[in-house]
């Protein structure tokens, strides 16, 4: 499987601030790739460099085997791009805007028409007759995905497509992206980790201008199978009692946590609770989630 996008040692500095310090990653074909990082970690800078809107200070980007040149738009024929806050011409209707985008991409008018119908259907805007200026944020985001997909790009780049949306709008966008991922590679940035868990095949964590961790989501999960067990007893003093029995655990706010607990550990803990007649409010076995991994990666 060839890589659609390859980034090698990408560097960018804004004045005295080093935004990117050698980002290296690759996105294979037909994959949903989550690009995770804090606000200001350099996600947008990386994305703008990919579409040639920013001039990198070092490193190389190739899209479908062709090198990206700053200010040039040649490699953009492979790419569909959705900016973080997409702005469209408010005086146009969705159909008119799609037609403008299709022509800008150099498509034939019959193809534009067919593709517009198909995509507006996909994003649920096909019955929308109003002009774009009256659209909600979620509608604009959906139109943004539709316009990005019009020329059947090999790579769809979305800059924080869900961060400004309500839960319903977010779910809609994620479903659309997941669908799109069946035909093209989707590279999207976010700081919402549940979004990544929901739809991504691969993930890269960006921290301090570098990729701190990247790879297949399931593999990353396997590597770090540190499940924890949490017990919240009714009486806070009982938490201390458990801590005496299990010295490797810790007590915080009346809640006892046993880290790196195996299934056997969980069973032992349960037995102990029964034997000591401890009344329990909550007993939980925590799966390793991306949030913890992310926190670990960024060192907090």
């Amino acid at each position: 499987m060839a890589d659609v996008l390859e980034i090698n040692g990408l560097c960018k500095r804004f004045g005295s601030k080093q935004a990117l310090g050698g980002v290296t990653l690759s996105v294979p074909e037909r994959c949903v790739f989550g690009f995770v990082g804090r606000n200001g970690a350099g996600k947008t800078t990386t994305m703008k460099s990919i579409i040639g809107l920013l001039k990198p200070d070092g490193g190389e980007i190739t899209v479908c085997g062709e090198r990206v040149a700053y200010g040039g738009t040649k490699t953009n024929r492979f790419i569909g791009y959705l900016p973080d806050v997409p702005e469209f011409y408010g005086y146009m209707t969705a159909r008119e805007y799609m037609s403008l985008c299709g022509r800008a991409a150099g498509m034939k008018s019959s193809d534009i028409k067919a593709r517009t119908d198909e995509l507006l259907e996909l994003v649920g805007l096909s019955d929308e007759k109003h002009r774009i200026k009256g659209y909600s944020r979620g509608m604009k985001q959906r139109l943004g995905i539709a316009q990005a997909l019009i020329n059947r790009p090999k790579l769809l780049i979305c800059d924080e497509p869900t961060s400004a949306l309500d839960p319903v709008g977010r779910r809609e966008i994620l479903d659309i992206l997941k669908d799109a991922g069946k035909q093209t590679s989707v590279f999207f940035s976010t700081h919402i980790l549940t979004d990544v868990e929901r739809i991504c095949d691969r993930v890269a964590f960006l921290e301090g201008g570098k990729v701190a961790l990247s790879g297949d989501i399931d593999e990353i999960r396997k590597k770090r199978s540190d499940t924890a067990v949490e017990v919240l007893p009714e009486k806070p003093s009982d938490a201390a009692l458990l801590a005496e029995q299990f010295p490797s655990g810790e007590v915080r706010d009346g809640c006892f946590t046993l880290k790196n607990a195996s299934a056997q550990d969980a069973e032992d803990l349960m037995k102990c609770i029964l034997a000591k007649h401890i009344s329990v409010v909550r007993f939980e076995r925590r799966e390793p989630d991306l949030e913890n991994m992310f926190m670990e990666v960024i060192g907090e």
Partner: protein, 262 residues
């Protein structure tokens, strides 16, 4: 091979600009404005005697005697050359942000990301400005011409067509300045400041006797042309300088625009 996609991009963006002009109401506003400026010139000339008569009592009280005043087509054309710079100013203010508003809002990004050429965008926007200015200007000119000839006789005025051409060309230069300054400015205010600076610099330079006839601003001095004291041939160098500098401004904006941050 390279030219064809450019023109495709150019006409695509022209279509977008025309739609914007129509839907934003600017087209209507500019039509009304240029028509009004056209009608105003002969109307002011026509009303002058009546105005003077109604004011004659108060004027006499202050010691000025109003004698018989005959209006010719000259008054109408003098009004035209007084009013058109105003129309030019309105057009400049209206088009000052034609580039920068797209940069600051980010509306160009999705289109550029699809491979739309930046130089096609600049060419389309410049064409729209020049087209609107030319059509509007010709509208005002036509109305003034027809009314002046109907009420009086245009043959009493010399070289009005050439003088009108000169002022139009000066407007073209200022609009090319808009394209040029937009290639690096970040707001409409910065663009207009730049255009204003060019205008003032030209007029200051014009005070130096020897160079004034080579300057574009020379084209705005129509008084001697209309009375026949000056001939179009006296303006040859100013016309050439204006045309060449307009072209240079447009060409210079291309490499700057292609490297600017969007």
């Amino acid at each position: 091979m390279i030219i064809l996609p450019f023109f495709k991009n150019y006409f695509t963006f022209m279509g977008k600009e025309l739609l914007e002009l129509r839907r934003s109401g600017r087209l209507l506003l500019l039509t009304v404005l240029f028509t009004a400026f056209g009608v105003m010139n002969p109307a002011m000339a026509k009303l002058t005697p009546w105005l003077l008569q109604t004011m004659s009592d108060s004027l006499e009280a202050s010691g000025i005697t109003v004698t018989e005043y005959t209006v010719t087509a000259m008054e109408s054309w003098v009004q035209f050359f007084k009013n058109m710079p105003m129309a030019m100013l309105v057009a400049l203010v209206m088009f000052g942000g034609i580039f920068t508003s797209e940069y600051s809002k980010g509306t160009l990004i999705p289109l550029l990301a699809k491979g739309l050429r930046r130089n096609a965008v600049s060419a389309a926007k410049t064409s729209i400005m020049l087209l609107v200015w030319s059509i509007g200007y010709f509208l005002s000119y036509g109305i003034t011409f027809v009314y002046s000839d109907y009420y009086w006789d245009n043959s009493a005025v010399k070289n009005y067509a050439f003088a009108a051409f000169g002022l139009w060309l000066f407007g073209v230069l200022l609009l090319c300045c808009v394209t040029f300054f937009s290639s690096f400015a970040n707001s409409a205010a910065q663009v207009l400041l730049g255009v204003g600076a060019v205008y003032i610099a030209l007029h200051l330079l014009g005070m130096v006797g020897t160079v004034s006839e080579y300057l574009p601003s020379y084209l705005t001095q129509s008084g001697e042309l209309l009375t026949g004291q000056a001939n179009p041939s006296d303006y040859t160098s100013a016309v050439c300088v204006t045309a060449v500098s307009s072209l240079v401004l447009l060409i210079a904006s291309v490499p700057i625009t292609s490297k600017r941050r969007v």
